[in-house]
């Protein structure tokens, strides 16, 4: 073979054999190298599925038990105590509060601190002995039909069985009193009434997070960060400048979603519109701050997206949006308390469906403010003022 032939063979411009596969292979090798270099992405490939599967597999429970229940005991009698014991034995109810008047009873249900309230009226035992067949009131927060449903449906039979063992009910095998179950706020058990307010929060979480999660990395990747850092601007000023425009965007978005929910899906707004607007703005700002914090932690836009996804999934699954919050194990509830969506879903359901006021929602409001300040503090301290 002549030198020219060798040259031709090595520098052939014609289509090589298996050209398609060679070029695909070249691309594939390059992608693998880049993937291996991006340690964080590499870790996330393993971490995300394993962590999330374990997390959600153990946490989600659609037939929740041990639901927090308030008791309004108007008389202290043996019968009353037996009934409460029987209720607790059903394992659906867990008595967490004892209240002394109806107003307090209503407040607890409204604020979402309890899912059920049991009221034993004054003179209950005497009425039973007289054969008056008095009523025992079980009020349920039915905003989430799934959470309340199984407990309510089991109520009659389960209590009867429990009491049979315990007390004087032998023949006739029927309860000498009536259990009057009252599904409050969503008597028709319409899941739409529950889902639509929850969707407000979920959609806002997704959009707000992405807006700011990319904001700092974008400046770094486009090279504008170098110029910005050489000018006299402080981290907190950068943060406010980047968050505030999206608060307006988020507000418009929230109005849109709530508007559609009311007009198309017939979800009521029983509470104050102003409170809803105010707390929605707080929620929007909290999410924007968290997204912004992400963008100060990650190194590129891909990582920012991954981190947002990692935050978004538990927000949907552990916030009480899809599955009853009270049904989760305690450790999962703690995680849930750390997510802004959990608090906002309580807020938005309570205002829209229960007519709750800001006093009823103090705890969740404070929690949102705390999460917002925490995120902002991390963001400001994490923001790199130099290129070191």
């Amino acid at each position: 073979m002549s030198a020219t032939d060798v040259y031709r063979q090595n520098h052939d411009v014609a289509e090589p054999r298996f050209g398609f596969w060679r070029r695909s292979y070249a691309m594939l090798v390059k992608e693998f190298i880049q993937l291996r270099r991006d340690r964080v992405s590499f870790a996330m490939i393993v971490m995300i599925p394993v962590m999330q599967l374990l997390l959600f597999g153990y946490a989600i429970n659609t037939t929740p038990r041990n639901l927090p229940t308030a008791v309004l005991l108007q008389e202290d009698s043996d019968l009353a105590r037996s009934i409460l014991k029987a209720l607790e034995n059903t394992s659906y109810f867990r008595f967490t509060r004892e209240v002394h008047d109806v107003a307090e009873f209503d407040d607890l249900l409204k604020s979402g601190k309890v899912l059920f309230g049991v009221e034993i009226p004054r003179g209950f035992e005497r009425a039973v002995r007289r054969g008056d067949h008095p009523a025992l009131l079980v009020a349920a927060d039915a905003t989430d039909p799934v959470a309340a449903g199984s407990a309510l449906s089991a109520l009659g039979t389960v209590v009867q069985t429990a009491l049979e063992h315990d007390l004087f009910i032998g023949d006739p095998p029927s309860l000498p009193f009536e259990i009057r179950a009252h599904a409050r706020y969503n008597p028709a058990a319409s899941s739409r009434l529950n889902i639509v307010p929850g969707l407000v929060g979920t959609i806002l979480t997704m959009t707000m997070l992405i807006f700011t999660a990319l904001s700092v990395t974008r400046e770094v990747e486009r090279g504008t960060m170098e110029s910005l850092l050489s000018m006299p601007i402080k981290p907190i000023e950068v943060m406010f400048g980047k968050i505030i425009p999206y608060v307006l965007v988020g507000f418009v978005q929230a109005t849109l979603i709530v508007g559609i929910g009311v007009l198309l899906f017939g979800v009521p707004i029983l509470g104050s519109l102003l409170t809803l607007a105010l707390l929605s703005t707080l929620f929007i700002t909290t999410n924007l701050s968290i997204g912004y914090t992400f963008s100060t932690i990650v190194q590129n836009q891909l990582q920012a997206m991954q981190l947002s996804m990692m935050f978004f999934l538990p927000s949907i699954l552990l916030s009480g949006f899809m599955f009853p919050f009270m049904g989760m194990p305690v450790w999962a509830q703690y995680i849930g308390e750390g997510l802004p969506l959990t608090h906002y879903i309580r807020i938005v359901r309570a205002i829209m469906l229960k007519g709750a006021t800001i006093q009823n929602l103090q705890y969740d409001t404070i929690a949102l403010i705390a999460l917002m300040l925490l995120a902002m503090t991390i963001a400001v301290t994490r923001f790199r003022r130099t290129l070191d």
Binding site: T224, M225, S230
Partner: protein, 314 residues
């Protein structure tokens, strides 16, 4: 304006022993320099020699590992915020917002520095840099030369005392380069201090003073004449036929440190004049070539410095 520390009245930059490493690799080593106010100070050196890192340390974008100094009388470690108010930094890569228009970019800068009337400041700067008629164009759509004018406009907008320009004319055509340098001289005439890094020898010669940095070490500084004089390099310029052959023959001969073609002539240089003369003696009688003792060019000096520093530091 007179609040600036008076003890450093005529020194804009005064740093000593600056060092900086990135992941174990020392990029700047024990660098000291003084830049007088109102001068144009050229910062020369090959790629990766530490020019950008030094500039970034001067304006507070990087923290030196060791060393100290002042910039406009402010401590470069503690007073980065104050330095940033008085320094305009033009980055090597265009770093204004590509998706903002010319005017919007300038107004952004004006507002960041808290100029009383950002719109007016931007309008005046657009006139000054000759971008009138293009103010609504997106910065990303400007050509290289216009981008560079805009970047210069943005960093001079807040009336800085010191300009740090990192290879401002890379990739810009000769006409735009000349205009740019005229502008720099005009600014210096107004009292501005300019530190400019460059690869171009003709630009180095337009500076009042220059410093040469290679492998993180400052190798020479002073005026162009001083740097050439201090180099102790002897150079002969050869003209004639077939200088390529001559070049190939001379290369690597003891006493000859550098052979560089310049168009139709050849620069032959050596650090030791007698050794150089001995080496070229056999060729001087050849009638094909005309030998003339000449001053080394700045480029000769720099390439020699670079070669020597490679031996020393690598």
């Amino acid at each position: 304006m007179s609040t600036i520390a008076t003890n450093a009245a005529d020194i804009a930059i005064n740093v000593e022993g600056l060092s900086k490493s990135f992941s174990g690799r020392e990029v700047v080593h024990d660098l000291s320099m003084q830049v007088k106010r109102g001068t144009i100070y050229g910062f020369l050196g090959p790629n990766g020699s530490g020019k950008t890192t030094t500039i970034r340390m001067l304006c507070g974008l990087l923290t030196p590992d060791s060393g100290e100094g002042t910039c406009l009388g402010y401590d470069i470690r503690r007073d980065a915020d104050k330095i940033k108010r008085q320094v305009g930094y033009m980055t090597q890569r265009f770093s204004l917002y590509q998706d903002l228009s010319v005017r919007e970019n300038l107004e952004f800068v004006a507002r960041l520095y808290g100029l009383p009337d950002a719109r007016a400041a931007a309008r005046d700067m657009i006139d000054r840099i000759g971008l009138k008629g293009r103010e609504a164009q997106l910065a990303g759509e400007l050509s290289g030369g216009w981008k560079q004018r805009l970047a210069l406009g943005a960093c001079t907008l807040p009336n800085p005392q010191l300009l740090l320009l990192d290879e401002p004319t890379a990739g810009v055509d000769p006409k735009a380069r000349r205009d740019f340098w005229n502008e720099i001289h005009a600014l210096a005439a107004e009292g501005l201090t300019v530190l400019v890094s460059t690869h171009y020898m003709d630009e180095a010669e337009r500076c009042h003073e220059i410093a040469y940095i290679a492998y993180g070490h400052l190798l020479a500084h002073g005026t162009v004449d001083e740097v050439i004089a201090k180099s102790a390099l002897s150079t002969y310029t050869v003209t004639g036929d077939d200088i390529n052959t001559l070049s190939a023959e001379l290369l690597g001969k003891p006493g000859i440190d550098m052979v560089a073609p310049f168009g139709t002539s050849l620069h032959v240089s050596g650090r030791d004049q007698s050794a150089l003369e001995a080496a070229i003696a056999p060729y001087r009688d050849n009638e094909n070539w005309h030998w003339q003792h000449s001053e080394p060019s700045l480029e000769d000096v720099f390439i020699d410095l670079m070669g020597r520093s490679r031996d020393n530091f690598q």
